[in-house]
């Protein structure tokens, strides 16, 4: 295994789905059920059994909209406000309206949600503004259940192939070029429609541990969806709205306020006082977190030691089994006990991820990108704050719409020269006798991301980043060297990461205002609704560099009156400002 082999295979399919994590399997199932005749191929860089952000499961839904607990209108309002208004509500509303059906379907798959002692959904945190948290006590079985459904539906699964570039022709999607991560053999897929579900760009910033793979996101989510969309000419929205999350320091896994919150846990400063709202994550919340860390009131902690023994035991049971089970090992190794001390928290490295923020490939309420026949769903598509249930639901939308799309189209012609050029690009590091290994290219890129792009964002620093990235790119294109096909995969990831870093710098420089709290805190600029109440769309310009345009926010379908805007704004103001 791992030696570099020659070879190219071409296959045809109706719908190619790239990424078998969360959105991808749901897209495949929906497409296949709607049209059993359709040839659906699900491709993954890893193995569909355990790929993606929910590789080990998920402890709950953070954004379930269940009749009787929350309404689509409420949810749409909250997401709009959490995103400082920059939201095309149609997509959010459609998600909110249809996600309950998806929950029921997942339940049928054998994915279990917490129910009360009468077998009804047990939605925690009964709350006046809306209740969205639905725990999944056996959330460790999610991937297993999904895989079972894929096998039953006889979906064609291709594992260990990494898509590197999309193919386009006749102004629409034509397919994708992929490379085997264990043999370096190529696979050219002609497809009438392509659904991208490749997850977040989680290996953009460097975690404070310095370990390249110690990321908040699954480290295999290195941002291929973003880079491929860019090179294919699709529009990417609001990339400057970075993902930054609160997490357990060093372990770098989620603190799981969603689990601990409804049971009484919260984020506290060194004095043990709560200093941020814990209803939902937002850039404003992260700004407050950052201020506390920087302002001498840190460290910041997850506080559980005020809870009863029985409650702590229950929290431990959930947190140490599901999503990131090594968390239990971590606390054990450090000798930390939730009962007696608070758990030190920190903020994550930056990334792109609409699942938690809003940085993603632009899509509409059908998960369509700006390229006909090309779809995106999940963490990489820009429906904001959509988390796991959003990935499932928007993946379903993509699968359903793609089936309609392929009815009227045949394969688009593309230029075989593109395939040759891509093979040359991919294999270049294998043609050298020595040089720079991919991990060093990646490390340097990501260290510069931390040095220069991490908010608060400063113009001069971001411009320096662009110069440094250009130097790394020169080295990468001329000197990167790999010894086997596994390293070749890492070299392709290094290239993706550098593309994402370039986009992150360019997008952040373009929006000359501050918005979304810490996510896009530009120290030289205030929020500027007059000029920047809009999406920013990044595309690949004619010069091969990022180009930008503003795109109006679509008229709201759920009106938010000034009262409500103010009510939320007031709630956010900190105590000293409010007292003035």
């Amino acid at each position: 295994m791992d030696e570099i082999l020659d070879g190219t295979t071409q296959i045809d399919c109706d719908i190619l789905i790239i990424g078998g994590g969360t959105a991808g399997p749901m897209a495949a199932l929906k497409a296949k059920r709607k049209n059993p005749e359709a040839n659906v191929v699900l491709l993954d860089k890893a193995n569909v059994k355990r790929s993606g952000a929910i590789s080990m499961g998920m402890d709950g839904l953070n954004n379930s909209v269940i009749p009787g607990y929350a309404t689509p209108e409420q949810y749409t309002k909250e997401i709009t406000i959490a995103n400082d208004g920059i939201v095309d509500q149609k997509a959010v509303y459609r998600y909110a309206d249809e996600c309950y059906g998806i929950i029921q379907e997942l339940d049928q798959f054998g994915i279990r949600f917490q129910k009360d002692q009468n077998g009804e959904y047990d939605v925690k945190k009964v709350h006046h503004i809306g209740t969205y948290v639905l725990p999944m006590p056996n959330g460790d079985t999610v991937k297993k259940a999904l895989y079972r459904q894929l096998r039953k539906a006889r979906i064609n699964i291709v594992n260990r192939y990494m898509a590197t570039r999309l193919l386009t022709g006749e102004d629409r999607i034509a397919g994708a070029i992929c490379v085997n991560t264990r043999t370096a053999e190529f696979l050219v897929v002609r497809a009438k429609a392509v659904i991208m579900a490749l997850g977040a760009a989680g290996r953009l910033g460097l975690p404070s541990s310095g370990y390249l793979y110690g990321t908040y996101e699954n480290a295999s989510n290195s941002g291929e969806g973003y880079a491929m969309s860019y090179h294919a000419g699709a529009g990417l929205a609001n990339l400057e709205c970075f993902q930054i999350n609160p997490l357990i320091k060093d372990y770098n896994g989620p603190a799981c306020a969603y689990v601990a919150g409804p049971m009484g846990g919260y984020t506290a400063n060194a004095q043990g006082e709560r200093f941020i709202e814990c209803d939902y994550w937002s850039g404003q919340m992260m700004q407050e977190f950052y201020d506390e860390l920087q302002g001498g009131k840190g460290p910041v902690y997850l506080k559980l030691n005020h809870l009863a023994e029985e409650t702590v035991a229950e929290i431990e049971r959930v947190l140490h089994i599901v999503e990131r089970p090594t968390r239990g090992h971590f606390h054990k190794g450090r000798g930390t006990d939730y009962r007696t001390e608070m758990i030190e928290m920190h903020i994550s490295e930056v990334g792109f991820c609409s699942g938690h923020s809003a940085s993603g490939v632009f899509v509409d309420e059908h998960a369509r990108t700006t390229i006909p026949g090309l779809y995106a769903a999940g963490d990489m598509a820009n429906v904001p704050h959509n988390y796991m249930l959003g990935a499932f639901t928007n993946g379903a939308f993509a699968g359903l719409d793609a089936v309609d799309y392929i009815k009227d189209v045949d394969f688009a012609d593309f230029d075989m020269g593109e395939v040759d050029a891509e093979q040359t690009r991919v294999l270049a590091p294998t043609k050298r006798d020595d040089g720079i290994p991919p991990n060093q290219i990646e490390y340097k890129t990501r260290r510069f991301v931390n040095d220069y792009l991490q908010p608060p964002k400063v113009t001069a620093k971001m411009e320096l980043a662009q110069r440094r990235f250009a130097e790394v790119r020169h080295d990468m294109e001329n000197e990167m060297y790999v010894r086997d096909s596994h390293e070749l995969m890492r070299s392709l990831e290094a290239s993706t990461i550098l593309d994402c870093a370039d986009m992150a710098a360019a997008a952040s420089l373009y929006r000359t205002e501050s918005r979304w709290g810490l996510y896009h805190n530009r120290v030289e600029y205030e929020r500027d609704d007059e000029n920047w109440f809009c999406h920013t769309i990044l595309t690949k310009g004619d010069d091969g560099k990022p180009a930008h345009r503003k795109q109006p926010v679509q008229p709201y379908v759920v009106e938010i009156d000034d009262d409500e805007k103010n009510a939320y704004a007031n709630q956010r103001v900190n105590s000293t400002v409010a007292a003035e």
């Binding site: 002692q117 006046h128 079972r148 064609n156 709202e277 407050e288």
Partner: protein, 318 residues
């Protein structure tokens, strides 16, 4: 060229390896049968669950999670008396994953099994299948010596949501074991009857705080105006967790007469409770509570502050 697509092998061929002399090879065969997701694999897995090697039996018990129906259930039930504890544990978990009510056919005959572990697993397995025939055996199991069995039996009864079971739940609410009492009270939530309410009101006097918490919480669903007085008493509970649920339930019942008692609780040093009080006071919107809310509109705790301001906003509108 390496194989491109995942295989869909013939079940018969995969199953041949179940006769391999090496337990490792048989474990591999079991895993491949599971991945097939093809119901034709069930009889082979049923055979593997009786394998000579405990590792193979455990893997077969895990593998059956991928299947459903009476045959799957029967195979899993047969593994509940396995000599190896790991096999029993795996089979017990897999039983709870069943969804097809028909699978209950293979479980129902065992709901009076003398083996405690087996009985517990069978009750847990039948719960989500909601088979009405399970009611009788579940009520009988409430008298079982083992508290785990009694807790599972309460679960079965709660999921069936049958008014006729209210007396049984009332008995279970007096059980010697905390967990059983707590579950029994929560299970009453489906019923808006005097009987349920009376049982929950009694539960508020339980010596264990978790039981009182369950009672206070469930009264939001099963209670009427008649339980407001006892919920108001529960506002004085020594455990803030109970007080919090009482506040919430009073809010749900819109017991505005309690507002003036809830308001001073904003002064207590428990962040979670203060937050809940502010939210409920907002929902109740009783003018007399305004001074308490005003006092905390700049509270240093942002969740308290947010809820106070929301409450004040709501009262201003009215």
């Amino acid at each position: 060229m390496t194989a491109l697509f995942e295989d869909f092998d013939e079940i018969g061929e995969l199953a041949e390896a179940l006769d391999d002399p090496s337990p490792g090879a048989r474990i591999m065969a079991v895993m491949e049968l599971a991945d097939s997701a093809d119901p034709a694999a069930i009889p082979h897995l049923a055979r593997a669950i009786a394998d000579a090697d405990a590792g193979v039996r455990k893997q077969a018990a895990l593998a059956l999670t991928d299947f459903d129906g009476p045959d799957t259930a029967a195979a899993l039930v047969s593994a509940l008396t396995d000599g190896d504890a790991a096999v029993v544990a795996a089979a017990s978990v897999s039983l709870t994953e069943l969804k097809d009510p028909a699978a209950g056919d293979a479980i129902l005959p065992h709901l009076d099994d003398p083996d405690t572990i087996k009985l517990k697993a069978c009750l847990a397995g039948i719960k989500e299948l909601r088979r009405p025939e399970a009611m009788g055996p579940a009520i009988a199991a409430l008298k079982h010596a083992d508290a785990g069995v009694r807790a599972e039996a309460v679960g079965v009864i709660g999921w069936l949501q049958d008014q006729n079971a209210l007396p049984a739940l009332r008995d279970a609410a007096k059980d010697g074991e905390t967990q059983v009492r707590r579950t029994a009270l929560a299970a009453l939530g489906f019923s808006k009857s005097e009987h349920a309410e009376a049982t929950l009101v009694e539960g508020l006097k339980d010596p264990e705080w978790m039981v009182r918490e369950a009672a206070a919480e469930t009264l939001a669903k099963s209670g009427s105006a008649g339980c407001v007085a006892v919920l108001r008493d529960a506002l004085q509970d020594e455990f803030w967790q109970v007080r919090l649920k009482a506040v919430r339930s009073l809010g749900r019942l819109n017991a505005t007469e309690a507002a003036i008692e809830i308001a001073p609780m904003m002064d207590l040093p428990v962040p979670n409770l203060r937050k809940e009080c502010a939210a409920v006071l907002g929902e109740m919107a009783v003018v007399e509570t305004l001074p308490f809310l005003e006092k905390y509109k700049d509270d240093p705790d942002p969740d308290v502050r947010k809820n106070v301001r929301w409450a004040l906003g709501k009262m201003a509108v009215q």
